[in-house]
């Protein structure tokens, strides 16, 4: 494991009064990847990010950046860039001044302000007061602040919130390109669909615990689970042939079947042998959202229990 450009979270635990917000979290965020940090609102995502940034103090465990706690970083803004809250800027201050004080505090040259404003597309609004910004512009300003120190580790809390479709596309591209440069990028979201096409790796959080720590491709493969969709004019015979060969077959509509338990090549073979006509055979690809549902079905008991506890309280 590289000492640089990683976030290491070990046995992190944080309680606010009677509420356990983060309950024994352990994970690693690696360089060169976009790591999605997913979970419903209140799952402990923001708390974890605050703990990583040394803003809150953990009750147990540690969060390390390149092997060191945040408070011991020599030049924090050039080691970790974070956007926690897009509205964390004084409304009467201009975007440029907001980034300028940050640059001064971080020991960064003032020209970085102009560079990151260009990078996030806010150059023309640089002298406007932040109070007049749309949520999308504030997100961009927050991202500019995170990029200011050109850090190898980036943390974005819900960056897609409030962005228009063009902005969403932009941020996906940005996340991908940042990771491609070898940076570790941690992006939190309460909607799995927001991370579609941008995350490489997923950390799924529920009520302060880590439910899953997996690669996106593995997750999709697992969720797709060898389902094949078959379109045929002769539904009855196809079902009979495939069922006899040991497949589980379900009928979707008049001419579509889903087949599981048999690889696609074997299905083609069998249909050919028995001269069953078919017009389409497709491997079914689960969406990330479906995969997430699949995944969290395992945690359903836990979720249901949690729900009850919440209702009861």
């Amino acid at each position: 494991m590289s000492l640089e450009a990683t976030i290491d979270v070990r046995g992190l635990r944080k309680r606010y009064g009677p509420t356990v917000a983060v309950d024994g979290l352990t994970f690693t965020v690696r360089p060169g990847q976009v790591t999605g940090f997913v979970g419903p609102n209140g799952a402990g995502k923001s708390t974890t990010l605050r703990l990583i940034l040394g803003l809150d103090r953990p009750d147990e465990g540690a969060a390390l950046i390149g092997g060191r706690p945040y408070g011991h970083l020599r030049k924090p803004l050039s080691e970790v860039g974070a956007m926690l809250d897009a509205s964390a800027a004084h409304p009467a201050r201009s975007a440029r001044h907001h980034l300028l004080w940050l640059a001064h505090a971080g020991g960064l040259p003032a020209r970085r302000v102009t560079e990151v404003l260009d990078q996030v597309g806010l150059a023309s609004a640089a002298r406007r007061a932040v109070g007049g910004f749309s949520l999308g512009m504030r997100q961009r300003l927050g991202i500019a602040g995170a990029l200011l120190g050109d850090p190898p580790v980036l943390i974005f809390d819900e960056p897609v919130n409030g962005l228009d479709p063009e902005g969403v596309r932009w941020i996906r591209g940005l996340l991908r390109s940042l990771a491609a440069e070898g940076r570790a990028v941690l992006v939190s979201s309460h909607l799995m669909s927001e991370l579609e096409d941008s995350a490489d790796h997923l950390l799924v959080l529920g009520r302060g615990r880590l439910l899953t720590d997996t690669g996106v491709r593995e997750l999709l493969d697992a969720a797709s689970g060898g389902h094949t969709r078959l379109r045929t004019r002769d539904r009855g015979r196809a079902m009979a042939v495939l069922a006899r060969a040991g497949a589980r077959v379900a009928s979707l509509d008049a001419d579509t079947l889903t087949v599981s338990g048999l690889p696609a090549e074997r299905i083609v073979e069998l249909l050919g042998e028995h001269r069953v006509p078919f017009t389409e055979l497709a491997g079914h690809r689960a969406s990330l959202e479906e995969a997430y549902m699949e995944l969290t079905r395992d945690a359903a008991d836990y979720r249901a229990a949690g729900q009850r506890a919440e209702d009861g309280s």
């Binding site: 590289s2 640089e4 990683t6 690696r30 360089p31 060169g32 990847q33 605050r50 940034l53 040394g54 803003l55 809150d56 020599r74 030049k75 924090p76 803004l77 050039s78 080691e79 926690l84 809250d85 509205s87 964390a88 800027a89 004084h90 201050r93 201009s94 001044h97 907001h98 300028l100 004080w101 001064h104 505090a105 020991g107 040259p109 970085r112 560079e115 990078q119 996030v120 602040g145 120190g149 050109d150 850090p151 190898p152 063009e166 932009w170 996906r172 591209g173 940005l174 991908r176 390109s177 940042l178 990771a179 491609a180 440069e181 070898g182 940076r183 490489d200 790796h201 690669g215 491709r217």
Partner: protein, 516 residues
């Protein structure tokens, strides 16, 4: 892990469409290395070198301050308001010129103290050592502290060196010198009374006697600066009648001159001074104030005199301080500003960005305190200086204040220190309570309430209140010592500084322990 995408290279920014990503110079090499090991070369910042210094942190906090237009405007308004109030104060002040004696404010006596050098003095030059004897046969006056007796003094100059042996209607005989000390007292001695004052070199000694035969020593003083030829003669004084009416929100003082009349006989001066023997002169300054002397016989006189000699009991207005009263308005603005400076960061979550950039809580607090203290201090000093420069000349006569006077200059610069300290105090309180409205109240109440209450409380309680609360800091603005002066200027400021230090230390401890 399967997270790595084969297609993703340095040019991946293209699918985002929008802004190009600043990529490190070595970006291409990284792509090539992707096959080895974990498949990724970790990124290294182009700005990884160096360490953010405290200077940068100060610039950061200064940038925060100057980039919120309404904060800068508030500060300017505070300065303007302070000066305006001074102008109004100066314009509305009508001072009755006190008839009792003169106001030797620039007499060279200790700058903090105002002195009085009134009364009537009838004298002859006394070359070298000698002795003056006389009997006070009668003393009439309305004041317990009316004085009749003998005096040796350096010259006519106001506030000059002197020693006076005087009988009083209510307090016996005393030997008094300078403007702060009493060299000896005989409380039981009453008029009529024989008095004798001798000079030997620099030492002046006083005696009193009921019969002119058996003398008792009252005391003796060492008068440095007494010239070879001094003035020696008879002296009558009567302090002003003063009524002080204290109430919430202020005080009203009425001060009226009074007169005393005394009759002397057996007046003998040894050695008799040469050609001028028997030539008694009135002190020119006291004639102007209504004093007079009548010769009743070869060695008998009647003197009338008004005004007193000695330390001013401090009923006179502290006109410089009154001018600087407007700094209260500036102070309220500065407190609000200091509270918002930090409070707005907590309210909007910006404090997290501040701490993310500078994880050291102490450094952040120190930088904020330095910038706020300097900004508020500069504003305070500028406002006070402008107030004195613009409004000072509008005051009449004795009340006129100028920056060239030591105490006034101290009060002006002290106003800057006062506002600076209060700003830092407000910052500390905000860090403790994290709630702007509560913080403003917590800072302003202990500063203002003692001042408001002071007028209505018994003098003793009012004094302690102004010694022990942060309001003691206002003492730095006093330029004369008054009857109700509770604490010295620097001691008062030190009390405020103490409170500020304690609050700041508590704020630091709290910031370190608490979640941001």
């Amino acid at each position: 892990m399967s997270g790595e995408r084969p297609g993703a290279g340095a040019g991946a920014g293209a699918d985002g469409g929008a802004a190009p990503v600043v990529s490190a110079g070595a970006g291409a090499d990284r792509g090539a290395d992707a096959a080895t090991g974990a498949g990724v070369v970790p990124y290294r910042s182009n700005f990884a070198d160096g360490t953010p210094g405290f200077g940068g942190l100060l610039r950061a906090e200064w940038t925060k301050f100057r980039s919120v237009p309404r904060w800068v405007l508030t500060l300017l308004a505070a300065v303007v308001l302070t000066v305006l109030i001074a102008l109004i104060t100066a314009n509305g002040s009508e001072r009755a010129v006190a008839g009792g004696g003169e106001d030797p404010a620039d007499s060279g006596a200790s700058a903090d103290f105002r002195i009085r050098d009134g009364g009537h003095f009838l004298y002859q030059p006394l070359p070298g050592d000698g002795e003056l004897v006389a009997r006070v046969t009668e003393l009439t006056g309305t004041q317990d502290w009316a004085k009749a007796g003998l005096m040796i003094r350096a010259g006519d100059e106001a506030g000059g060196t002197y020693a006076a042996l005087v009988a009083t209607p209510g307090h016996g005989v005393r030997l008094q010198t300078g403007f702060t000390q009493v060299a000896g007292e005989r409380a039981e001695a009453a008029v009529p009374r024989w008095l004798r004052l001798t000079r030997e070199g620099r030492t002046v000694t006083g005696y009193e006697s009921a019969d002119g035969e058996n003398w008792s020593r009252v005391g003796s003083v060492d008068l440095t600066g007494l010239p070879a030829t001094a003035q020696a003669g008879l002296f009558v004084a009567s302090p002003d009648e003063v009524h002080v009416d204290r109430q919430f929100g202020g005080e009203s003082i009425s001060q009226e001159p009074t007169e005393a009349e005394a009759t002397f006989d057996g007046v003998t001066l040894r050695p008799e001074s040469g050609a001028a023997a028997g030539e008694w002169q009135d002190r020119a300054r006291s004639l102007a104030a209504g004093g007079s002397a009548t010769r009743l016989g070869p060695d008998a006189f009647t003197l009338r005199g008004a005004g007193d000699i000695g330390l001013d009991p401090g009923f006179a207005d502290d006109s410089a301080r009154n001018l600087l009263e407007g700094a209260l308005a500036g102070l309220v603005a500065v407190v609000a500003l200091a509270v918002l400076f930090l409070g707005s960061e907590y309210r909007r979550g910006m404090i997290r960005l501040t701490f993310a950039a500078t994880p050291g809580r102490g450094r952040v607090l120190a930088a904020k305190a330095t910038v706020l203290g300097a900004v508020a201090g500069a504003a305070g000093a500028v406002a006070a200086a402008a107030a004195v420069l613009l409004a000072g000349p509008m005051l009449d006569g004795a009340g006129r204040v100028s920056l060239t006077e030591g105490p006034v200059l101290r009060a002006v610069l002290g106003t800057g220190l006062l506002l600076g300290l209060v700003a830092v105090l407000a910052l500390g309180v905000t860090a403790l309570v994290r709630h702007s409205a509560a913080a403003i109240a917590l800072v302003l109440l202990p500063l203002l309430v003692p001042r408001l209450l002071a007028g209505g409380l018994p003098l003793n309680a009012a004094e302690w209140l102004q010694r022990l609360t942060p309001a003691a800091g206002f003492a730095i603005q006093q330029t004369v010592r008054r009857y109700d002066t509770a604490i010295g200027p620097w001691a008062g400021l030190a009390v405020l500084a103490g409170y500020t230090a304690v609050v700041l230390a508590a704020a630091y401890a709290r910031m370190r322990r608490r979640d941001a």
